[in-house]
């Protein structure tokens, strides 16, 4: 299977949009090579600001740019761009509903060897708690590009969550995303799996195994937009499925599982299972970590089989 880097493709898209959108700016914090915003910086040095290792400053500078009609992108690692400037994101961006695009890379467990301080497992919860933020979790490099395009072309604050390693390519290169949209990646009738980001790949693989080895028909929904969220597909799946399983590279509380459970509970209660993180991890390769902590297709298959009646 082909793989590609969500952060690299997003960086190329930011560069591309810079050509047609003179208001697009980037504010970085000394990780611009890693986030690939250095591509924009080299082409448009007047619209690129490196504030050094100062994420709080970065966010409020972006707010000031946005309040003056610019479309600023702030970009750093997910651990540094979420928890550290949370106050600035809350008061400076969310409460003011300013047009700031927060594009954070190296999210989730698969960031790997740098260990638990670098593995962002809280960011989805944090950005969902910022009332006015749209939250997008692309499943592959092409969706990452589409997410950047959607965010830049839509007024208001956005969070886009990207990964460090290359991840499997699941979509065609012209994929378009919509606020509150979702994509059914695999049709199925017995159960439904909701996944976002890298876990969409594992959900698809799990659905194949369930079908081929166990004769179970699992629908896979790529729920890339978490705020706003496609409630209709969730309610439809709740009505048509024996149970729902959510898969996310994030802590169980405050993320996808919490979100889907709320909607299911209010509309058509069925069991909602979770494949997610429940502890801080450790250093290791991406594959070692997802296998040890059960964030993979095997875990999804096992959980489905254990709960089918």
């Amino acid at each position: 299977m082909d793989t590609a880097s969500t952060r690299e493709y997003a960086g190329k898209k930011i560069l591309e949009l810079g050509a047609t959108n003179p208001d697009l700016c980037v504010v970085g914090a000394d990780l611009n090579k890693s986030t690939f915003t250095n591509l924009f910086a080299e082409k448009y040095p007047d619209r690129f600001f490196d504030v050094g290792i100062a994420e709080q400053n970065m966010v409020n500078i972006a707010a000031g740019l946005a309040a003056s009609g610019k479309i600023p992108i702030v970009s750093t690692f997910a651990v540094f761009g979420s928890t550290r400037p949370m106050d600035q994101l809350r008061v400076g961006v969310a409460q003011s509903n300013l047009n700031v695009k927060v594009i954070l890379t190296h999210a989730g467990l698969i960031t790997g060897e740098d260990g638990i301080s670098a593995q962002s497992l809280e960011d989805i919860s944090l950005f969902l708690s910022l009332h006015s933020f749209s939250v997008l979790v692309p499943s592959d490099a092409y969706e990452a590009q589409a997410a950047v395009e959607l965010a830049v072309n839509t007024p208001g604050p956005f969070y886009i969550r990207l990964s460090r390693p290359e991840t499997p390519v699941l979509n065609h290169e012209n994929i378009q995303l919509q606020q509150g949209g979702s994509n059914v990646m695999v049709n199925g009738s017995n159960i439904s799996i909701f996944a976002c980001g890298y876990m969409v790949y594992h959900a698809i693989e799990a659905a194949k195994i369930l079908k081929e080895r166990h004769g179970i028909s699992a629908r896979v929904v790529n729920i890339y937009s978490l705020n706003p969220i496609d409630e209709s597909i969730i309610i439809k799946c709740a009505k048509e499925s024996q149970f729902i399983l959510t898969a996310e590279e994030h802590f169980k509380y405050g993320g996808l599982h919490s979100l889907i459970s709320q909607i299911v509970a209010q509309n058509n209660p069925v069991k909602v299972l979770s494949v997610s993180m429940n502890t801080y991890a450790e250093s290791g390769t991406s594959d070692e970590l997802i296998n040890k902590y059960g964030l993979n297709f095997n875990s999804i298959v096992e959980k489905v089989l254990a709960n089918l009646s």
């Binding site: 504010v27 709080q56 966010v59 500078i61 707010a63 000031g64 409460q95 003011s96």
Partner: protein
């Protein structure tokens, strides 16, 4: 405005501050009163603005980073036609535009505040926008001295120097008192001018209650010089009201009705 009109404006701003905080039975009169002469000079003589068109794109930007002192901003805005002075009595009330800390949706308010340390970074972003758009507007950011405890200010101070933001003016309302105690007891900032200078800023010092000196210092700023400027204004917390002056108790407490009468009488006699 001439100097007499500015002094009259400062007086009215002080009475508004006292009246609205007392009416709300809460708010921050001390740090509002210490900034009153600064805002009277800015809105009376220095800033370019159109109160009937608050979003005029060429307006100078005044950013209140010490947003708990919003009574002084609301008063300056109302006294200069952004909205009716009668609206000041809705301060901190349900359904009012005048929240307890200033918010960007209120006409004339450039930034949402309430968490200290964010305004100078925001001002850097605004000043960078002016440069990108080739606009001549100036960006003024009012900071509290206690607020400078927040490390983010010093990140912004370095950034403004790096990007040679000659169109950015920080003003420190150096009233010497923060929430709990005197600033030199909580976290001594002295020598403050040397700190700013060592970060590469041009530093001016002025008596923050001498309106003529304030006008002179604001008018002396050379915006062609591509380094950011800071005006350290020595002020007195609670200035103008005898029992509030230099009294930490009135950082975040309003006058009761009896005290309000006395305070207004004192202001009117000055």
């Amino acid at each position: 405005m001439n100097i007499n009109e500015i002094n009259e404006l400062a007086k009215n701003i002080r009475i508004d501050i006292l009246t609205m905080t007392s009416n709300a039975n809460s708010g921050h009169p001390g740090g509002s009163l210490s900034s009153a002469d600064i805002l009277a000079v800015l809105y009376g003589n220095i800033l370019k603005y159109d109160s009937k068109n608050p979003k005029w794109e060429d307006r100078d930007r005044f950013i209140l980073s010490k947003a708990h002192a919003c009574p002084v901003l609301y008063a300056a805005l109302a006294e200069n036609g952004y909205f009716d002075t009668s609206e000041l009595l809705t301060f901190r009330k349900l359904n009012s535009r005048l929240q307890g800390h200033s918010h960007i949706k209120t006409p004339g308010v450039e930034m949402s505040g309430g968490s200290l340390g964010q305004g100078l970074s925001f001002g850097v972003g605004v000043a960078l926008s002016a440069r990108l758009d080739e606009k001549n507007y100036k960006t003024y950011v009012l900071l509290g001295d206690g607020e400078l405890n927040e490390g983010q200010n010093w990140e912004a101070i370095m950034t403004a120097k790096k990007y040679e933001l000659g169109n950015l003016v920080a003003i420190v309302d150096k009233n010497g008192i923060q929430n709990d105690r005197f600033t030199h007891e909580v976290m001594d900032l002295n020598p403050l001018p040397e700190k700013w200078k060592s970060f590469g800023w041009e530093c001016f010092e002025v008596d923050g209650h001498d309106t003529e000196s304030l006008i002179q210092v604001f008018q002396s700023v050379n915006f062609e010089n591509p380094i950011p400027k800071v005006i350290i204004a020595d002020t007195i917390k609670g200035k103008g009201v005898s029992f509030m002056e230099n009294n930490p108790d009135f950082h975040g407490k309003a006058a009761n009705p009896e005290q309000l009468k006395q305070a207004i009488a004192e202001i009117n006699n000055q």
